[in-house]
């Protein structure tokens, strides 16, 4: 456990009643859950096999299943959980962060990699990435949406995610740093959630044409 000094914590949480006045207990956690790395390895190996065999079903499975997970997680985190986190008390937010963020650190890169790699391979397999495809403009639009989301996720969201976890691992975490990074994370997740609506529009248009 680590203690963090929070001057304006609300007195309605279990943790504050257990901690000394002015301090909040931070649950022990692993920045990168090591057991989760096994699952990550299994998924990545399965993805490589799917690309290698280049059959329609495994490629569709990876693209649809992981793409759906990516969209749903972004929508839910950005438009539902994010605003809720913003209104949580600081101790509750810290506890929630230490439980959610390490998992996100493993889940999101794998989900994004599987969706994009399988999606590209599926597009080549089906010819939908070629200029001869009648809906090519929509496919290029999906590249642009994914590109913008990637830059936001890699440039702002992921570094903030890791930095907040590293900060929370310190013996004396700085609440201002955590606040600033969490704000960045929540705003970024909100923008990504909105952009996922564009993904849904494009993908449903492509699937129905």
């Amino acid at each position: 456990m680590t203690d963090i000094a929070i001057p304006a914590a609300r007195p309605d949480t279990k943790h504050e009643t257990e901690a000394p006045p002015g301090a909040i207990e931070i649950p022990d956690f692993q920045i990168v859950p090591r057991r989760g790395l096994v699952l990550v390895a299994i998924v990545l190996v399965a993805l490589i096999v799917a690309i290698a065999v280049n059959k329609l079903w495994p490629l569709t499975f990876f693209h649809v299943a992981f793409g759906a997970a990516w969209t749903i997680i972004d929508l839910f985190l950005g438009l539902v959980l994010g605003p809720i986190m913003g209104k949580m008390s600081v101790p509750a937010r810290i506890e929630f962060t230490t439980r959610l963020m390490p998992k996100m650190l493993l889940i999101m890169p794998v989900v994004v990699t599987a969706t994009l790699a399988a999606g590209w391979q599926l597009g080549v397999h089906e010819g939908t990435v070629l200029t001869s495809y009648p809906q090519h403009a929509w496919v290029v639009a999906s590249f642009i949406v994914v590109g913008v989301m990637s830059v936001l996720a890699l440039g702002l969201l992921e570094p903030a995610n890791i930095a907040v976890l590293v900060e929370l691992k310190k013996p004396r975490p700085n609440p201002q740093v955590i606040e600033q990074l969490m704000k960045r994370f929540i705003y970024c997740a909100g923008i990504l959630g909105i952009m996922q609506v564009a993904t849904l529009v494009i993908m449903t248009k492509l699937a129905s044409s």
Binding site: T2, Q30, V32, L44, L47, I48, I51, A52, N54, P109, T113, L116, A117, W120, Q121, V124, V129, L130, T131, H136, V140, F143, I144, G147, V148, S150, V151, L154, G155, L156, E158, P159, A160, I162, A163, V166, E167, K169, K170, P171, R172, P173, N174, Q176, V177, Q180
Partner: protein
């Protein structure tokens, strides 16, 4: 909070990643037609230049916590090298060859270096005397 002035590493990295993404979209949007590589090479060169500028700017920051930076950046780089490898493997499976493959490989290399640099910077910029990572 640590309020010392720092170079615009995040902004430059995001611009660099944006250029890589634009180059990737430009190349992939023209398949299977022959694509003039000039624009993609120019975007890649600009992106790589921004990476070099970022490294130089970062190396000049006084009292920067390089231990923390490398602690985070090296693991991050391992993760992004794996991701980059999977993406590159997909391109190789699709018989992407020649100049296009070279541009895509170098673009992925810039991505695999710049993202860990950004992650390491974001963590290390908040390092101070408030304590080391416990585990």
């Amino acid at each position: 909070m640590n309020e010392r002035p720092l170079p615009p590493v995040t902004q430059l990295a995001m611009l660099s990643l944006s250029l890589i993404v634009i180059g990737g979209i430009y190349l992939s949007a023209h398949l299977p037609k022959h694509v003039p590589l000039g624009p993609a090479v120019a975007l890649l060169a600009a992106s790589a230049l921004l990476l070099v500028i970022n490294v130089i700017l970062l190396s000049r920051v006084p009292d920067f916590d390089w231990d923390r930076f490398f602690q985070v950046a090296r693991w991050s780089m391992l993760a992004y090298l794996v991701i980059a490898g999977v993406i590159l493997y997909a391109f190789l499976q699709d018989h992407v060859r020649g100049g296009t493959l070279v541009v895509l490989t170098l673009s992925i290399a810039v991505f695999a270096v710049h993202v860990p640099l950004l992650v390491g910077f974001t963590v290390a910029r908040y390092s101070g005397d408030e304590g080391r990572v416990a585990a």
